[in-house]
Amino acid sequence: MTAENQLVPEKAELGGKRLGMVVEGSLSMGLKVRLDRSTFVEDMSVGRYVTIRGQKDYFLGMVTGIELGAADDRLASSPLDAADPFIVEAVAGSATYGLLHVMPQVKLGRRAIDLTEGAKPVKTVPAHFSAVWESSQRDIELVFGKEDERRFYLGTPLDMETQVCLDLVELTKRSNGVFGKSGTGKTFLTRLLLIGILQKGAAVNLVFDMHSEYGWEGRSETNYKVKGLKQLFPSKTAILTLDEESTRRRKVSPDGVVKIGYGEIEPEDIELLRQTLNLTEPSVQAVYQFSREFGRDGWLSGLLARRTEEETAELLARLNVHESTYRNLLRGMERLRRLPFLVDEASHLPVQRIMEYLDRGVNVVLEFGRVTSPESYILVANMLTRRIHEQYVERTEMALGEGRQPPRPLVITLEEAHRFLSHEVAEQTIFGRIAREMRKYNVTLLVIDQRPSGIDEEVMSQLGTKITCLLDNERDIDSVLTGVAGKSELKGVLARLESKQQALIFGHAVPVPVVIRTREYGSADSYRGLGVAHGADAKRRSGEDAREVWEG
C-alpha cells in the first residue's frame, strides 16, 4: 500500500463525537440515523453537518429532520413509567431512541490522496450501521476550503467552530441574492460580503444604499453603532449622497453630492415608475410622443413648461394625446419634480465621476438620506445603473476587439430588489437584463430582499448563489428554493433557521448547501478579525485602512 492510499488515521479526524449509526437510507430520500443513547436528541438541530463514515468512503451530510422512534409501537399508549427517572434513563437509546434524517451531500475520500482532491458528488449511500460522527474541522475544510486570497470566511456551520468560506471570485461571476424576512441579518451579512469582495479584490462595489447603512455608521437593533465601508477602508470607499444635509448631519463628509438634471430622465426611466407614479399605459406611451416633440433631454422640461389652455389643447391635439392621459402624466411628473435632488438643468449626472472611482477600484456607496420614497430610489438606481452598464458594455466590447483588459468586475448592491425585478418590470429594467446576462459585461447584482416571491421567477433562477436567512412565508420559501435539488428537505431547514444571524447558502459558489451562523460583525474583535484574517499581500492592500480605524 502506498502512502497515498493509506487510510487517514482515525485519530486525525476525531474532531467530535460519535452520534449514531445509519439504519435505513436511499439516494433519493436520504438516510435515517439512529442516535446512540449517549447522544441526546435535543442537542441535535436541523441544518447541522454530520460526517457519515461508510466502509469505503466518508460522506458529509446535512441533518434535515429529527424524529423520535420507539421499538414498541404501543409506546403512545405508554405502559412505561415515564415519571421514573431510572426507567427513562434505562430505556433511552434502545426501547426509545432519536432518529436523524440526513441528506448526504458530498463524498469525502478516506484516503490521504483524496484529501487533495476535495469533495465529490454522492452516487451511492453508506452501508448499514455506518457510524455517524460530528463533522470535524478537516471535513468542513475539505469541502469549503480555508480562507485564502479568493475565499472569505463568512460564518460557522451550526454547532461548530470551523469556518465556512465562500469563494468570492466564483461568487461574483454571477448575480446573487441575499434574502430573509425583516430583521434577520441581511444587511449585516451584506456588509460582510461587501468587505470580503473588497478585501479579496474580487470586484468593485456600487451600493444603492437606500437606508444609509453601508457607507458610514449603521445601527444594530439594540442600537449600538456598526462601522460602514468608509470607516474601515477610507481610501477604498467613496460616499456619494442624494441628501447632503442628512449626510452631513450624521457627521459624514460625502465625497460628492448627486443631482439629477431633468434632461437626464429618459422615457425608459418613466416606464419603470409606472406603478409607483400611478401612470396609465397611454401616459407612458405619451412620454415617447413628448420626447419626439421636445427631444430626449428636453421632454420633461417641455412637458412641465407653463402654457395657456389653448396652447396645451393645441399641443395635445398635435401629439394626439388624450386630455385625461395628459393629466395623469402631469400628476406623476409633478411628483417627480418635488424630488429634492432633481434640478432643472440638462445634465448633472455624476456617471463619469462614479466610473472614475470604479476604475480605480474605489467602492461607491450612494446614500439616499431622507429621500427614501420609492420613486426616487427606483429612478436613481435605474438611471445610474443603465448608464454605467452602457459604459461597461462599450468597454468590454472594445476590450474584446482590441485585446485589452476589460473593465474591473462590478457588483451592484440593491436593497428592496423586488422594486426593480418584479415580474411586471423585470423585462424592461436594466437590472433584469444584468441578472439575465450573467457576467458577460463584467457587471453582476447582489440583490437583497425580504419578499423574494415578489421577484421575477426567471431572474430568481439566474441568481448564481442564494444566501437566505429565515423566511416564513410559504411563497417566499418556494421562490427561493425553486429548482434546487433536495428542495423539500431544505425547506424544512430554511423554515427553522434562527430568527437572526443564521443563513442557508446554496448555489454556484458553494459545493453543497450549508447553514451558517453568520460571522459576528460590529464588535472591536470582529473588525480586528477582518483586518488580519487574510493573506499578507491582501493585508497590505486593504488591511492598513482597517488598522487605522480600530487602532487610531
Binding site: L75, D81, A90
Partner: protein
C-alpha cells in the same frame, strides 16, 4: 434493594445436574445462598457459573412429610434442642440456572457438559461477581430459561445481587436496565415491570 454480597464459602454439593441448571443440597439446614446470587461448581476442567433460584427445605425422604412437633415447647428453637435428630431428617436444596462457564476464558453461554454430581458448590466472591456481571449477556439466558419461578423475578434478583459487587450500584443497574431494554424493547409492558424490580 441492593443486597450485600454473601461471604464466599462452600455451601453444598450438586445432587442433580443438567446442562441448563442443577440442584444442590446445602450443608447447613436453612442456609441456602441468597436468591439471585452467583455460585460456581467445577465440572472437570471447566468452572460452571449459575444463579441461585428456588431454594426449598423439606424431608430427606421424598413422600414423607415432617410432622409438627412444637405444641409443648415455649420457643421454636426449642424444637430442635428437644429433637436433635430432625436436622438429619431435613434438608435444604436450591436450584441454580447455569449462565456461563470458564475454561481459559469466561463465557456467558451454556457449557459443553453439565455439572457433576457431588461437585462442591461455592458462593462466588465479590470480585468474581463483579467480573462476571461486567458483561450482561447472561441476562438473555435467564430471560429465555424455562424455570418455574418467575423469570423476571430472577432477573431482578440476580441484578440487585450483582449490583452489590460494583462500585456504583446504580450505574450498574442503569446499564443492566439498558441491556434489558434492548432485549425487551418490543414488549414495553414486561420491560416496565422488570425495570421496577431493579430498584
Amino acid at each position: 434493594m441492593t443486597g450485600a454480597i454473601a461471604e464466599p464459602s462452600r455451601v453444598g454439593e450438586v445432587v442433580e445436574a443438567s446442562t441448563a441448571s442443577f440442584v444442590a443440597q446445602c450443608y447447613e439446614l436453612h442456609q441456602p445462598p441468597p436468591l439471585g446470587s452467583l455460585v460456581r461448581t467445577r465440572a472437570g476442567s471447566i468452572m460452571i457459573y449459575a444463579i441461585v433460584f428456588n431454594a426449598r427445605t423439606g424431608s430427606i425422604e421424598p413422600g414423607r412429610r415432617p410432622i409438627a412437633r412444637g405444641q409443648e415447647e415455649e420457643e421454636e428453637g426449642d424444637i430442635f434442642k428437644s429433637n436433635p435428630q430432625i436436622t438429619k431428617l431435613l434438608r435444604t436444596d436450591f436450584e441454580a440456572v447455569v449462565v456461563g462457564y470458564r475454561d481459559e476464558l469466561l463465557h456467558q453461554y451454556l457449557p459443553p457438559a453439565p455439572g457433576h454430581i457431588h461437585s462442591f458448590v461455592h458462593i462466588c466472591e465479590k470480585k468474581e461477581v463483579e467480573e462476571f456481571s461486567g458483561r450482561l449477556d447472561f441476562l438473555d439466558i435467564i430471560l429465555e430459561s424455562k424455570i418455574l419461578l418467575g423469570v423476571d423475578e430472577l432477573v431482578g434478583a440476580s441484578l440487585r445481587y450483582a449490583s452489590g459487587a460494583h462500585a456504583d450500584p446504580r450505574a450498574f443497574l442503569v446499564e443492566a436496565g439498558r441491556a434489558l431494554a434492548s432485549s425487551l424493547g418490543g414488549d414495553l409492558h414486561r420491560l416496565n415491570s422488570l425495570l421496577k424490580r431493579l430498584k
